[in-house]
């Protein structure tokens, strides 16, 4: 289309967009031309009054055609001109930024890789792009992937960069060329940006400096046939043996229908395997996989789909994530207001679990408590904790059948703060002294509950009913509900479990709460909420409203060897512990980094009461793959209480361990450990199709243009008229546009044809 336009109007549309239209004829010439045109038109118009064989209409048509001809001639005589600002040859610079990342090695559907364009068009040679540019501009070259740098020789390109960071590349080029007249930047890339900076950060300074960016997009937008595993979201840390539920998003292009296995591996050991049906072309489908990590330490869990026949890119079939598996023994306080078999069977369910220390505090008589699994004789010596420091030692709290009036107001507030401030987890169990029946309505703790409390069940015997428990759709995807059962058998397993009983009618949840288990009761108008949870402040709270889950172990319909009860409680308590913060927590901005690239180490520091500490001395001990230890101090960020940061650049390839220790006044507040790997990743192979929208956006927002290899030939001319830098004003004639002459010929031919048709010649 542009070619046709250029043939008719001499110049490409871009020139018209950039230029200002004017008539070059002098003032007197304009007058004479105007007078002549008017006279000619008048004479021509008088023709409509001539007598002869023609009708007035026919004469009118012919006169109009002739008037059009006269006007066109007059327009040409007025010397229409386009005033264009063009860059001065060899006075301006153009930065050429070349994508040197691995994705440039992809061949897409072509025989040659994307990088072949660089060899063909950017190497000096006959008719190459770089030659055309060189004629008008002084060129400066940059290569970019994860980092960008100036190059002088294309031999420095090896297309092996682990990431594509467009923003930093644009920044570098702008800064390096800020001292010279810069006409624009040319970005040669597939646009598959994998950097962690938003591109806007780089575009705004370019807009301010009025530097247009011209993008040349390489590769296909869609790579097919191909299967790709999407980004995986997993908890950063879990307790050993915890069931982890993960949604794996799989997208296919050009593979057609069918099913593929999703394999989850930990160090070459298959943890689980699920088969999923592929979706329509480009439609992502979600595979839910559940697995347990039973080895403490940093685990690299790999989710992969075996390469399928004909696949273009195989390296986007697998994703690897780092999960810190804690092998600690973590403490949960279970406070029960009376002897109940829930205590016995819950203890039994987790007693073999080396990672759970379920501390029992059971009221056996007024002011008399039974303490079990305590660490020492002083623990809970006076009953339920009366200070935050004492309560906050536990990472989760389970409240059984105990009335609210047992606690002081301070203790009730403390329980609420345990969740909201300390970030602990709180589980409420059903029982005659629980929920509304236990007088919890109106207390500070009621707000923490994920369920709504009604009026206490009345009558001398209170409320009592049976419920058959079943998972909700949300529950089927939750680790607490899996019962260590294959995913497709979970619902069936729940159906096989005997009904339980309730004494607390609970049918409503708070806004934002999620119900995982529900139960039908013949004595309730709507379903009983059996298990629900919500986030509250920094922690989470859950309600398990039945009173005898031990029946899942004891009931005659449950085989003795059945592990449902045990699995439920192990996973429930583990889930409660997930994400509960420690006084000192270490985190990183990413789990894989390229050697030499900065990594941000962050520590959240609090004291034993979980009050943020801003005057701590925080030190990171980084153990390198070769065993060397580097110590890096962290500084308080000021913006946020208790947050300390520093940067670290790994130099070796391999796995690193980061231990962050916080001290105040010589007292150790705590420590946290995390891990990362330094080395190349596979980021470049994911979502590796040409990102046309991003490239167009860069060009549009900076006043540049976007091109493909097919349209790139006009790039030098375009920069000449749209670029910044040292420019001059150029007048380009339009009177000799072929379009004017064609129009004249057309009018003349039209009149002649009309005459012939009407027999007027």
């Amino acid at each position: 289309m542009n070619t046709v336009f250029e043939f008719l109007f001499k110049y490409r549309p871009l020139v018209f967009e950039q230029g200002d239209f004017t008539l070059a004829a002098s003032g007197s010439a304009r007058i004479w031309i105007g007078v002549a045109a008017v006279a000619a038109i008048a004479v021509t118009a008088s023709y409509t009054y001539a007598r002869g064989r023609s009708t007035p209409v026919e004469r009118g048509i012919m006169a109009a055609l002739r008037v059009g001809l006269v006007l066109l001639l007059a327009f040409a005589l007025l010397q229409p001109t386009l005033v264009v600002s063009t860059v001065v040859p060899q006075q301006n610079f153009v930065g050429v930024l070349i994508d040197d990342s691995r994705s440039m090695s992809l061949t897409d559907g072509a025989e040659e890789p994307r990088s072949a364009f660089v060899d063909a068009e950017l190497a000096p040679g006959d008719g190459s792009l770089v030659d055309a540019l060189s004629e008008r501009f002084v060129l400066r070259y940059f290569r970019f992937s994860d980092v960008a740098r100036r190059i002088n020789d294309f031999g420095e390109l090896d297309f092996s960069g682990p990431r594509t960071n467009l923003a930093s590349a644009l920044d570098l080029a702008r800064q390096e060329l800020s001292g010279v007249p810069l006409s624009g930047l040319v970005v040669v890339s597939d646009g598959a940006d994998t950097g962690d900076r938003p591109i806007t950060e780089a575009l705004t300074p370019l807009q301010a400096a009025q530097v247009p960016v011209y993008t040349v997009g390489l590769g296909e937008e869609v790579i097919e046939p191909d299967i790709e595993v999407g980004r995986i979201e997993v908890p950063r840390t879990v307790l050993e043996g915890t069931t982890v539920m993960v949604d794996v998003v799989v997208t296919q292009h050009g593979m057609g229908s069918g099913s593929v296995p999703v394999i989850v591996e930990d160090d070459q050991r298959i943890l689980t395997e699920e088969t999923i049906e592929l979706g329509e072309d480009g439609d992502p489908v979600v595979a839910r996989v559940g697995f347990q990590l039973d080895r403490a330490g940093p685990r690299r869990v790999r989710f992969r789909i075996p390469p399928q026949p004909g696949e273009r890119v195989e390296r986007n079939n697998a994703r690897e994530v780092l999960i810190e598996v804690r092998g600690d023994r973590e403490k949960i306080l279970y406070f029960e207001g009376e002897p109940r078999f829930e205590v016995k069977f819950t203890r039994r369910a987790v007693e073999d679990d080396e990672n759970l220390q379920l501390v029992i505090l059971q009221r056996t008589a007024e002011s008399k408590f039974l303490r079990l699994s305590v660490t020492d004789s002083t623990e809970l010596r006076f009953g339920f904790p009366t200070s935050r420091e004492e309560l906050y030692r536990y990472r989760a709290l389970v409240l059984g059948s105990v009335e609210a009036s047992h606690f002081t107001h301070n203790q009730l507030t403390m329980i609420a703060d345990f969740v909201s401030e300390r970030g602990g987890s709180l589980l409420f169990l059903g029982g005659r002294s629980a929920f509304a029946e236990g007088g919890w309505a109106g207390t500070p703790v009621e707000e923490v509950m994920p369920v709504t409390l009604g009026e206490p069940a009345g009558g001398p015997d209170g409320f009592f009913s049976e419920v058959r428990v079943r998972p909700t759709p949300a529950g089927l995807a939750h680790p607490t509900v899996q019962l260590d059962t294959p995913l497709d058998e979970v619902a069936e397993r729940w159906d096989s479990l005997p009904p339980l009983t309730i004494v607390n009618p609970v049918t409503g949840t708070k806004p934002g709460a999620t119900t995982l288990l529900a139960g039908e009761s013949p004595d309730l108008a709507s379903d009983q909420v059996v298990l629900a949870f919500h986030r509250y402040g920094r922690g989470k709270a859950a309600a398990f409203t039945v009173q005898d889950s031990w029946l899942w172990q004891m009931h005659a319909d449950v085989p003795v060897e059945d592990r449902s009860h045990q699995a439920f409680w192990q996973q429930m308590l583990r889930w409660l512990l997930d994400g509960v913060p420690t006084p000192v927590a270490a985190s990183l901005d990413r789990e894989r980094v390229d050697p030499g690239t900065a990594l941000r180490l962050t520590a959240a520091v609090a004291d034993s009461s979980y009050i943020e500490v801003n005057d701590a001395s925080v030190l990171a001990r980084v153990t390198t793959p070769t065993g060397a230890i580097e110590e890096v101090p962290l500084s308080w960020t000021v913006e946020r209480d208790g947050q300390y940061e520093t940067e670290f650049r790994p130099s070796e390839v391999g796995d690193y361990e980061v231990e962050i220790v916080a001290e105040r006044g010589g007292e150790v507040l705590g420590s946290g450990t995390t891990h990362f790997r330094a080395g190349p990743g596979d980021d470049e192979y994911f979502d590796a199709g040409r990102r046309t929208s991003l490239l167009e956006r860069i060009a549009d927002e900076t006043g540049g243009q976007s091109y493909t290899p097919r349209s790139v030939a006009s790039l030098p001319d375009d920069i000449a008229v749209t670029g910044a830098g040292v420019t001059l004003v150029e007048e380009r004639d339009l009177w000799d546009m072929p379009a004017i002459f064609l129009a004249m010929l057309l009018l003349m031919a039209a009149e002649w044809s009309f005459r012939r048709l009407r027999g007027l010649v």
């Binding site: 207001g337 009376e338 109940r340 049976e466 003795v560």
Partner: protein
């Protein structure tokens, strides 16, 4: 503590003497006949659904043999000794001593009745006369393996021990019966018990009456059976009769020493069984 217990006993005397108002929750399993009318369970249980209360004091109904002796004459089955008065009084006092929500009535269940699994704690007496059928053996075994807890009481001497041992050998083969030392938590879970006492039957414990022991040279012993994970699942009170002390604690002639011990031991066993 003895004063408290005495007050508890005195206050419950009227209840104990009337002793008839409490309902019963009784198994109507498909097993053998549960015995003559003197100790026959009633059917008041139809209005009660297991689970309403956290705890039901549950007595095991088992088959007795015909090896002679008092129970072999057919007057009543050995499982029903002291039933139901002992059970009712024990529950009444237990509620005053322990913060526990207990079903007020007696609850006798057959060993082969599936409903037994709703009651994770089971009391069994006079086991020297037991003669378990295969279904009872299977029922008790699966009950214990699933997590049930059994308290055995009121049997005396070597002959009765042998009968019990033979039957338990069928229930839990390869599981040894071992002495429980006083250091075991069951002696300190609620009350601190420093000595295992020989609790006599009502007539024997009264000063001036026959010897406390029902057999010569019988030493009171508390023994236990543990599961493969080292958890106590059976506690055996041999050469002692806790049930009689629970039954007759309100009798001013019955020595407080024995009734105190019996209730303390009972409370300990229950609190232990509900938490371990």
């Amino acid at each position: 503590m003895q004063r408290i217990l005495r007050a508890a006993f005195v206050s419950l005397v009227p209840v104990a003497l009337v002793g008839l108002g409490a309902p019963a929750l009784v198994s109507n399993g498909d097993g053998e006949d549960s015995g003559p009318a003197a100790a026959a369970p009633t059917d008041l249980a139809v209005d009660e659904r297991p689970g309403r209360y956290p705890f039901y004091w549950t007595r095991a109904i088992y088959s007795s043999g015909s090896s002679g002796g008092f129970y072999g004459w057919g007057r009543r089955e050995s499982w029903a000794t002291d039933f139901p008065k002992s059970d009712r009084q024990f529950v009444t006092v237990l509620k005053r001593l322990v913060e526990i929500d207990v079903w007020d009535g007696e609850n006798a269940v057959r060993l082969d009745d599936p409903i037994l699994r709703h009651f994770p704690l089971l009391y069994m007496v006079e086991v020297g006369y037991m003669d378990l059928g295969d279904s009872e053996v299977e029922g008790l075994r699966s009950y214990l393996e699933a997590g049930g807890f059994l308290i055995v009481d009121d049997f005396w001497g070597a002959r009765e021990w042998a009968v019990f041992q033979e039957n338990m050998g069928r229930v839990l083969p390869d599981k040894p019966i071992v002495d429980l030392p006083l250091e075991h938590p069951i002696f300190s879970t609620f009350y601190d018990i420093e000595e295992v006492k020989q609790v006599p039957a009502r007539g024997r414990g009264i000063p001036g009456g026959p010897p406390a022991a029902e057999c010569r040279g019988c030493e009171p012993t508390v023994r236990g059976i543990f599961d493969d994970d080292g958890r106590l699942m059976v506690v055996i009170n041999w050469n002692t009769d806790l049930g009689d002390a629970w039954e007759w604690a309100e009798d001013p002639r019955y020595p407080l020493e024995y009734s105190t011990y019996a209730y303390q031991m009972g409370a300990n066993m229950i609190v232990y069984a509900m938490s371990h």
